[in-house]
């Protein structure tokens, strides 16, 4: 999956085009950003998704302007970014961030096959909390009619990862500034039951 669109020109040692690096990042993130371009004007939408093999699926309302555009088959860019730490170096210049990110390119496809639509909705619902699809009221015909599913085949994708600690220049290492790593993470809190369900234990699959 290596072309001029995903060739890593900056810091190529941080980059990878391997599925075993890319897929875990796509599977861990909660949402992605999808960008497309209309007459040279780029648009970005943050959105929930799932990955099935090398395809990303997103869903939205048939009334959404963005989704109607995507349904026509357009080139998009998908970005998924996980932030792991802030790197506080002794020099301003060497400050950095630990992250794991994927940037992927593909042409959108309106999903019309009902089985594929259903599977995509199942996997989107289960993407963050596996087990939810089996524990809720599934879509009815009217809801399916209101829902558009778009597939984005990952024609090209690259991952970029920065990990580790402070990387100050040698001559800065004796400077009298504190340096180190501030870990950052996305934390899922204790589930809060809806009105009327107080006291009922939340399902185990919601505890991450």
């Amino acid at each position: 999956m290596l072309t001029s669109r995903t060739k890593l020109s900056r810091l190529p040692k941080r980059g990878s085009h391997e599925n075993e690096v890319i897929y875990p990042i796509l599977d861990e993130a909660v949402f992605c950003h999808v960008s497309y371009s209309l007459d040279g004007q780029p648009f970005i939408l943050p959105i929930a998704y799932c990955r099935i093999d090398d395809t990303i699926y997103i869903h939205g309302s048939v009334g959404s302007h963005f989704f109607r555009q995507l349904s026509e088959g357009v080139e998009v860019c998908v970005a998924v970014t996980l932030l792991d730490a802030m790197i506080m170096a002794r020099s301003a210049f060497s400050h950095s961030v630990n992250y794991r990110s994927v940037v992927a390119f593909g042409k959108t496809r309106l999903v019309e096959d009902e089985a594929e639509r259903w599977l995509a909705l199942e996997r989107i619902t289960d993407h963050v909390f596996k087990g939810r699809w089996a524990d809720c009221r599934l879509p009815n015909a009217s809801e399916m009619k209101k829902t558009m599913v778009i597939a984005i085949p990952l024609e090209e994708a690259s991952a970029k990862i920065r990990s580790g600690g402070v990387n100050d220049d040698l001559e800065d290492r004796e400077l009298p500034y504190w340096a180190g790593v501030v870990p950052v993470s996305t934390v899922f809190g204790e589930p809060v039951a809806d009105a009327g369900l107080e006291g009922q234990n939340a399902p185990d699959y919601l505890k991450r």
Copy 2:
């Protein structure tokens, strides 16, 4: 800042074009996604930034392909997304997410004025941890030469916010599924000192 690019077609009750809604979201997020388009192909880059009045500043290497493109003055889209909760409804269809997001449009400008470049770097360094710029080795002439600063004036911007709880249809509310809210937050952990600084207390401004 309301034009056809930012007119909210879906769920306009969730949207706002007011600076007092937009600025706090831009000031809280750690990084943004910037998208631009080249011959109809959109590209996205996740990147650190700061806001000064109604301008977003980003910085990068003069050797970066992406930054060289931005230096020419191109239309970009900037997205900032804060995830607050996962909404687990009784029906799959009513599942949702609490979030605060901003989507903004502007034409990039290469910053050449040295005072403006310096201020942008100060604010980017202080964006997440205010006080860091005053507590590190500031950029030297060689580092300034290697650094490109790009301004993105927020010509148009809109915020979208979903908050609150589960919103199941009335007829679903007696269904025997657990429903509720799973809070999500970005958490900064305890700072970890670089080798040689073990035991030194991290500065207070790193504790968020």
